[in-house]
C-alpha cells in the first residue's frame, strides 16, 4: 500500500489540473527554476524575469487541463514554449519591438568572415553557466531575442521572422551580429580571466 514518494510529471499535471493546491505548489517548485532562467535569458533582468515567470505560470495553470502528456518531459517543453511566448509579449509591450530591432541593426560589430571556421568548445575556457548567462544577457535586446530563439529554442529564421514580424534577412543579420558580439565578449572574458590567473601565480 505504501509507495515511494515518486511524484512523476503526469501525476503532478493531473493533480494540478484537478485544482490541487499542493500539486500546483509542487509544480512551481519543480519547474520555476528552469523556467526563470529561460525568462532571464530573454529579458536580462531578474525582476522582469520574475514578472514573466509569474504571468507565464498563471497561463500554465489556466491551461493545464488542456495539456495532454505524450512523453516524459513534454510538460517541461510545453511550459518553456509558454514562457518564451510570454517573454516575447513582455518585450514587445515594454521595449517597442521594431525599434529595438532597427536600432540593433546598426552595423557596429565586425562580422566574422566565416562562421564555420570556429573550432568548437575547446577554444573556450571553462566558462561557468553563470558567466555564459551573463554574456547572453549582456547582448542588446534585439540580438538577444533572435539569438535565444535560434540557438536555444532552435527556431529557424523563417519562424523567427514570423514571430518577430521582421524579414528573414533581419533575423540572420541579428543572429550574425549577436554571435560576433558574443565572440568579442568571450575573448575579453578569456583575457581577463587569464590575466587574473597570471596575477595569482
Amino acid at each position: 500500500m505504501i509507495r515511494q514518494p515518486d511524484i512523476v510529471e503526469e501525476d503532478l499535471i493531473r493533480k494540478a489540473s484537478a485544482g490541487d493546491n499542493s500539486a500546483i505548489e509542487a509544480l512551481y517548485d519543480r519547474y520555476a527554476p528552469i523556467l526563470l532562467s529561460v525568462c532571464y535569458r530573454y529579458c536580462g533582468n531578474r525582476d522582469d524575469a520574475e514578472d514573466i515567470l509569474h504571468d507565464g505560470f498563471i497561463k500554465i495553470i489556466r491551461n493545464i487541463a488542456k495539456f495532454e502528456i505524450r512523453r516524459e518531459g513534454s510538460a517541461e517543453a510545453w511550459m518553456k514554449r509558454i514562457m518564451v511566448n510570454t517573454a516575447l509579449n513582455f518585450i514587445r509591450e515594454r521595449g517597442k519591438w521594431k525599434n529595438l530591432l532597427e536600432n540593433d541593426s546598426i552595423n557596429d560589430i565586425e562580422e566574422p568572415a566565416d562562421e564555420s571556421d570556429e573550432t568548437g568548445a575547446d577554444r573556450y575556457p571553462d566558462l561557468r553557466p553563470e558567466e555564459v548567462m551573463q554574456l547572453v544577457c549582456a547582448l542588446p535586446p534585439g540580438y538577444r531575442t533572435v539569438f535565444n530563439l535560434y540557438v536555444f529554442e532552435q527556431y529557424g529564421h523563417r519562424e523567427i521572422a514570423n514571430l518577430l514580424g521582421c524579414t528573414e534577412n533581419t533575423s540572420k543579420s541579428q543572429l550574425s551580429k549577436a554571435r560576433g558580439l558574443l565572440r568579442k565578449k568571450i575573448s575579453q572574458m578569456i583575457s581577463t580571466n587569464t590575466s587574473r590567473a597570471y596575477e595569482k601565480v
Binding site: 505504501i2 509507495r3 515511494q4 493531473r14 484537478a18 493546491n21 524575469a49 515567470l53 540557438v151 536555444f152
Partner: protein, 492 residues
C-alpha cells in the same frame, strides 16, 4: 528541427541546459496566491451555470404549461358545441326548440315569449326547467326598451333553430340546466317601490309581470320557480333534471377525453427507472441509477418530457496522504534513580523509560481511494418526435438537455488507515464534485400501449457529459454514458 553545425552555439546551449535560478520567495508567494484565486474562480464559474440552467428549466416548464393551457382553450369550444348539439338532439319536441329559440331572437317581443313557453312546459317538467334560464335571459335582455320598440301587435318571426339553440347555451355554458331563481324572481316579485324602472314606467312593468298575463297563468318555468320561492321553499330542480345534468357532464367529459386521445394533445405522467453506464470517468466505468417522476405532453408526433428524478452514483475518490514513515521505536530513558543497597554495597540504578516511535525525516506520500456515493437531482427536458406510430406502439427519437444538481455526498468506505505512520496532511486529488452537471441525451423511444390509459416506455439512450465529477481532465476526454430508460406512464 534545425541541425546545429556551429560549435559555439552548441557550447552555449549545453552550458545553459541545466542552468537554474531560484525564484524569490515574494514571487513564489505572489504566484501561489493568485493561482489559488484562479482555482476558486474556476469553481465559482462552474457554479455560474446554475442560474442559466434554472432559467432554461423554468422556460421549459413555462412553455409546457402555456402549451397545455392554450390547447385546453382550443378544445373547450368544440366540446361545448358538441354538448349543445346533443342537447338539441335529445329534445324531441319541436315546440320546445321553438320556445328556446324565442329568447335568442332579439326582435321578439315579450308577448311572444310568454305565449310560446306554454307549449314547452307542457312537454316535461325537466325541459321546462331547462327553458327557464332562457326565459329569464329573455326577460332581462328584453326588459325596458324592447317593449317600446316592438309593439304587441308585431308579428313573431322565430329564428332558425340552429342559431337560436347555440346562442343561449353558449351564453350559459354547460350549466344551462341550473335553475336561476334570482333572475326570474324580479319578474314575479317585482316591487314597484324598489324598482326604479317600475316607477318610471308602470305600463311596461305590467306587460312584464302582470299576474293576469298569459305567461303566468300558463306557468312557465320561471314562473314556477319564482312561485316556489314565494311560498318559502327553495327552488330545487327535480331528480330527473339532476340526472340529466350528470349525464351531460359525463358525456362532455367523454368527449373531451376522446378529443384528447383522438386529437393531438395528450398529457401523461408516470415513474421511470434508468440504469446508466458511465464511461471515461476518473475511476473507471460506473453505474448510476436514475429514477423519479416524469410528465410528457404530446402534440401530434411531437412531445416534450420533463420531470424530476434522483440519480445515485458511486465513485472512488483518490487521496494523497503525506506522512512520515514509521521506522521503529526505542526505549527512551526518562530518568534514573540510584538507591543505595547495603547488602550489595553499591548504588542500584532504577531507570524510568518510555517507548518512543521513530519516524523518517523525509516526507513520504501514499495514494489511496475512498468510496463515495453521490446523490444528484436530475431534471431532464427532452424533446421527441414519433416517426412511426400504430395503435399499440409508437417509436421516435428523443433528445434534450439534462441537468444534474449534486444533493449529497456520503462516504461509504472506511477512512484511510495510516498504520503507525504519522500523517502530515491528506489531499483530495480527485476532481472536486461539481454542484451542477450538464448532459445532452439522445435516444430511441418506444412506447407500448398496455391498456387504454397505461403506457410502457422503453428507451435506449446515450448521454454526453459537458462536465462531470468523474471527468479526467488530463486526457481531455469527456464522460459519456449509455442507459436504458423504462417508464410506466398513465395518460391523464
Amino acid at each position: 528541427m534545425k541541425k546545429f553545425d556551429i560549435p559555439s552555439d552548441e557550447f552555449l546551449r549545453e552550458s545553459l541546459r541545466d542552468y537554474r535560478m531560484t525564484p524569490s520567495d515574494a514571487a513564489r508567494n505572489a504566484f501561489l496566491k493568485e493561482a489559488s484565486g484562479i482555482i476558486q474562480s474556476g469553481r465559482s464559474s462552474r457554479r455560474g451555470w446554475i442560474l442559466p440552467s434554472l432559467l432554461l428549466l423554468l422556460a421549459g416548464f413555462a412553455w409546457v404549461i402555456w402549451t397545455l393551457l392554450a390547447h385546453e382553450e382550443v378544445i373547450s369550444t368544440p366540446v361545448k358545441q358538441e354538448v349543445s348539439r346533443q342537447n338539441s338532439v335529445s329534445t324531441d319536441s319541436p315546440p320546445l326548440s321553438l320556445t328556446k329559440s324565442t329568447p335568442a331572437s332579439a326582435s321578439s317581443s315579450i308577448k311572444t315569449t310568454t305565449e310560446k313557453p306554454i307549449e314547452a312546459v307542457s312537454v316535461s317538467p325537466a325541459e321546462a326547467v331547462h327553458s327557464q334560464p332562457h326565459s329569464s335571459s329573455l326577460t332581462q335582455s328584453s326588459s325596458g326598451n324592447k317593449t317600446k320598440e316592438f309593439p304587441e301587435s308585431s308579428e313573431f318571426k322565430p329564428a332558425p333553430a340552429t342559431t337560436t339553440m347555440e346562442k343561449p347555451i353558449r351564453d350559459y355554458g354547460l350549466t344551462t340546466a341550473t335553475p336561476a331563481p334570482s333572475q326570474s324572481q324580479p319578474l314575479t316579485n317585482q316591487d314597484p317601490a324598489t324598482s326604479g324602472r317600475s316607477e318610471q314606467n308602470p305600463a311596461e312593468n305590467a306587460s312584464l309581470v302582470s299576474p293576469a298575463s298569459p305567461a303566468t297563468s300558463s306557468k312557465p318555468a320561471s314562473a314556477l320557480t319564482s312561485a316556489a320561492e314565494q311560498s318559502g321553499q327553495p327552488a330545487t330542480p327535480p331528480a330527473t333534471v339532476i340526472a340529466t345534468e350528470k349525464q351531460e357532464k359525463k358525456e362532455a367529459g367523454n368527449i373531451r377525453r376522446s378529443d384528447h386521445r383522438n386529437n393531438n394533445g395528450r398529457v401523461a405522467g408516470g415513474v421511470f427507472y434508468t440504469p446508466e453506464w458511465l464511461h471515461n470517468t476518473l475511476d473507471g466505468n460506473n453505474i448510476a441509477h436514475n429514477f423519479g417522476l416524469e410528465g410528457v405532453f404530446r402534440y401530434g408526433g411531437f412531445s416534450i418530457r420533463t420531470g424530476a428524478g434522483i440519480s445515485i452514483a458511486s465513485g472512488a475518490n483518490e487521496i494523497e496522504v503525506a506522512y512520515k514513515p514509521y521506522l521503529g521505536d526505542y526505549r527512551k530513558l526518562d530518568s534514573i534513580q540510584f538507591t543505595w543497597s547495603d547488602p550489595e554495597h553499591k548504588y542500584i540504578p532504577k531507570m524510568f523509560m518510555s517507548t518512543q516511535d521513530v519516524f523518517d525525516t523525509l516526507t513520504a506520500y501514499d495514494y489511496s481511494s475512498v468510496e463515495k456515493r453521490y446523490t444528484y437531482l436530475r431534471i431532464p427536458v427532452v424533446f421527441g418526435y414519433d416517426f412511426w406510430k400504430t395503435e399499440k406502439i409508437s417509436m421516435g427519437l428523443r433528445a434534450g438537455p439534462v441537468l444534474s444538481l449534486l444533493l449529497s455526498t456520503k462516504q461509504l468506505s472506511e477512512a484511510y488507515d495510516p498504520g503507525q505512520n504519522r500523517i502530515l496532511r491528506i489531499n483530495d486529488i480527485s476532481p472536486g464534485q461539481l454542484d451542477l452537471n450538464w448532459q445532452i441525451m439522445a435516444g430511441l423511444g418506444i412506447s407500448v400501449r398496455l391498456s387504454r390509459n397505461l403506457l410502457l416506455d422503453l428507451e435506449p439512450e446515450a448521454s454526453y457529459y459537458f462536465n462531470s465529477a468523474f471527468e479526467r481532465p488530463a486526457n481531455r476526454q469527456k464522460p459519456w454514458s449509455a442507459g436504458f430508460r423504462t417508464a410506466l406512464m398513465i395518460e391523464l
